[in-house]
Amino acid sequence: MNGRSNLTPALLAAPSLVVYAGALLLPLGGVLLLSLHGFDFEKGILPGWGLENYRDLLTDSLFAESLLRTLRIALWTTAICLLVGVPEAWIIYRMAPRWRGAMLLIVVGPLLVSVVVRNFGWMVLLGTTGLVNQVLTILGVPGAPFRLMFTELAVVIGLVHVMVPLVVLSVWASLGRLDPVLERAAFSLGASRLTVFRRVVLPNVMPGIMAGALMVFCLSASAFATPAMLGGKRLKVVSSMTYNEFLNTLNWPLGAALATLLMVAILTATLIWTRFVETRAMRRLGEVAEGGKGGSRA
C-alpha cells in the first residue's frame, strides 16, 4: 500500500468538507464571536470581549420564560405529531397500492404550501369569529367562542400541521424495510390487527419514529414564522426574540447570544433524547414479550 491510497478518503471527502465548513462552521463561529462583543445604542457594537450578554440572558426571567415556552411547544408538537403521524403512515402503508401514491401526496401537501399562506389560513380558521369558533358556537359548546389565536395552542396546531408529514415520511421509510411476511406470521399465530401493529410493526419501525421525533423537535424548537404569526408579539419564543434583537433593537451581539443559547438547548435536548429516551424505548419495546422467555437472562 502506498501513501496515496491512504489519502484517498480524505481527498474524496474534501469538497463536502469545504462546503460544510464554509456554509455551516464559518457562520456559526461568526455568531459565536459576535455574541462575545458588547453593545451600546449610541456606539453600536463595542470592540471588547466578554460574557456579559450570556450573564444578562441567564438572569433574565423573560428569557427563561420564552425558553421554557419554546421547549414546551416543541414537546407538545412532537408528541402530537407522533400520535397522528405513526398510525397515519401505517394506515397508508396498508392501503391498496393505487391509493398509496395519492395519499402520500395529500400527506406531504402542507409542505408544498408557503409558510405564510399556511399560517394565514390558520389565522382565518382560529380567529374569534373564525370557522372553528363558529362551529363550536353552533354546537352550543359552553364558553364558546374561545380565544384561540395568539395562544400556545394555536402555535402547536400550526406546527403540527406542517410537521406531521416529516413523521409520516420517516416512518414510511422504515415500513418499507419491514418484511410484510412478519405480519402474516403474527396473524397465523393468532394475533389481532391491533396486536400485530403494537407488537410487531411498532418495534420494527422504532428507528423511523425516533428519527421523525428528533426532526420535529428540532424544527419546532427553532421555528420562527409560525410562532411569530400564530403566537403574536406577546408570546415570545427564543427564535422570535433573536429576530427582534437583530432586526428591531439592532443589538446583534445579544441576538447572537440568544441564537447560541437556543442551539445549545436544542443540542442538549437531542443528546438527552438519543442517550436515554431512544435506547430505553427501543430496549423496552424489544422486550415486551418478557414473560414468555425462560427467564435465564442475567
Binding site: V181, S188, G292, K293
Partner: protein, 349 residues
C-alpha cells in the same frame, strides 16, 4: 383413501386480475398425513398454501378443514401453523420470545408458557439458544426456531413453504431427517411445499405434483416415480431417458436393436415413445446384445457412477452402482441393455 379426510380443497381456483395462477386444484389430506406439494417455479405452490392459511382468498372453490368451511374464517382463527420460506422470525424478539408469541395470543398463563416454550425449543434441539436474537443465529437454527414457533401452538395443520431451501446440503439432509421424525412423533397433519423432488420423495407419504396451476398427479412417491401420470411427471421426478421405437408383435426395434416390450405394451403397433430411468440401464462390453454406443463421459458420485452414453438415438444417462469393479473408460464402445418391465410409455411424443 379410506381414512377420513381432514383437509379438503374442492375445485380451488385463484385469479390475479386477468392472470389465472391456480386453474383448478382439488385434493384431500388424511389426519396425520405428510403431503408434499411439488412443482416447478411459478406453478402455484405458494399460492395454494397461502389460500389454505387464509392469506389469499380463493377466486373459486371451497376449502374445508375438519368438516368446517374455512371461507369466512380469518387467518388468525384457523389454528394453522405456518413456516415461511424466509422463516419470518420477529427480529426484535429472542428465540424464546418468538416461540412464546403464539401462546401469548392464546392467553396461556405465564408459568405454562415458560414450560411449553422450553419444551418446543427442546424438540428442535435449541434449548441452549433460547435467548439469542434471530440475527445471532445461523440459517438452520432460525429455521428450527420457526418450526418450534409453529409447533408450540399445537396446530391442527402444519404448512411448510420450502423451509429447507436456504440450507446447505448437509444441514438440509439432517433437517429432513429431523423434520420427518418430528412429524411422526407429533402426528400433526403436514403439507410441505418444495421444488426439490428428492426432498419431497424422502419426506412425504404422498406427493402432489403441480404444473401450471393444476395438480397432475397425486400418489405415493415411489408410485409417482415408477408410474408417472405423464411426460411432465416422468421428467420432473428424477431423470429419464427417451427411447423412440417402432413396435410390432410384442417387440420393438430402436437403433438396430430389437427388444421385448412389457406385457402392458405388448399389443402396440407402430411408432411408440418409451422412457427408461438411468438406474434401470445396464452397460455391457462391446459385442454384447443391446443398443450400441460409446461412453461420452463419466462422473464419480461416491456410491454411484453416472455415465453419459452416446448412441444412434441420442445421449443416455446411466447410473451404475459402484461395486468396486473397473469402470468403463471414456470413449470405450459399449452396449446398453435393460429389462422389459423397466420400460414406460410416454403419453405424448
Amino acid at each position: 383413501m379410506a381414512a377420513p379426510h381432514f383437509l379438503t380443497l374442492d375445485r380451488i381456483g385463484k385469479d390475479y386480475g386477468a392472470f389465472t395462477a391456480i386453474r383448478e386444484v382439488s385434493f384431500s389430506v388424511a389426519p396425520g398425513e405428510f403431503l408434499g406439494l411439488l412443482g416447478p417455479s411459478g406453478c402455484g405452490k405458494t399460492t395454494t398454501l397461502q389460500m389454505i392459511a387464509g392469506f389469499e382468498a380463493p377466486s373459486r372453490g371451497r376449502i374445508t378443514m375438519d368438516g368446517r368451511d374455512l371461507t369466512t374464517v380469518p387467518a388468525a382463527k384457523r389454528g394453522i401453523g405456518l413456516v415461511f420460506q424466509s422463516y419470518a422470525l420477529f427480529p426484535h424478539m429472542t428465540a424464546a420470545e418468538n416461540v412464546a408469541f403464539g401462546l401469548e395470543m392464546r392467553r396461556v398463563s405465564k408459568a405454562e408458557r415458560i414450560k411449553r416454550v422450553a419444551e418446543a425449543l427442546d424438540l428442535v434441539h435449541l434449548a441452549h439458544l433460547a435467548d439469542r436474537f434471530p440475527r445471532q443465529m445461523s440459517g438452520g437454527q432460525q429455521q428450527r426456531v420457526a418450526l418450534a414457533r409453529a409447533l408450540v401452538i399445537e396446530p391442527r395443520l402444519l404448512l411448510l413453504d420450502e423451509p429447507l431451501s436456504n440450507l446447505d446440503a448437509k444441514l438440509r439432509e439432517e433437517m429432513q431427517v429431523e423434520l420427518r421424525e418430528l412429524q411422526r412423533r407429533i402426528g400433526v397433519t403436514t403439507i410441505l411445499v418444495t421444488h426439490d423432488q428428492s426432498e419431497a420423495m424422502a419426506l412425504c407419504d404422498r406427493v402432489a405434483i403441480m404444473q401450471g396451476g393444476r395438480i397432475v398427479q397425486i400418489d405415493a412417491p415411489w408410485r409417482a416415480y415408477d408410474v408417472p401420470a405423464d411426460d411432465f411427471v416422468a421428467d420432473f421426478l428424477g431423470r429419464s431417458n427417451r427411447l423412440p421405437a417402432c413396435a410390432g408383435g410384442g417387440q420393438a426395434e430402436a437403433g438396430g436393436h430389437r427388444f421385448a416390450l412389457p406385457p402392458d405394451l405388448a399389443d402396440r403397433q407402430g411408432d411408440i415413445l418409451l422412457t427408461i430411468r438411468p438406474e434401470r440401464l445396464r452397460i455391457g462390453n462391446d459385442g454384447a446384445a443391446g443398443l450400441g454406443g460409446r461412453v461420452q463421459s463419466r462422473l464419480f458420485l461416491g456410491g454411484f457412477w453416472l455415465y453419459a452414453v452416446e448412441t444412434a438415438l441420442g445421449s443416455f444417462a446411466v447410473m451404475l452402482q459402484n461395486t468396486g469393479s473397473v469402470p468403463h473408460d471414456e470413449g470405450a464402445p459399449v452396449t446398453l441393455d435393460w429389462d422389459a418391465h423397466s420400460l414406460r410409455r410416454l403419453e405424448r411424443a
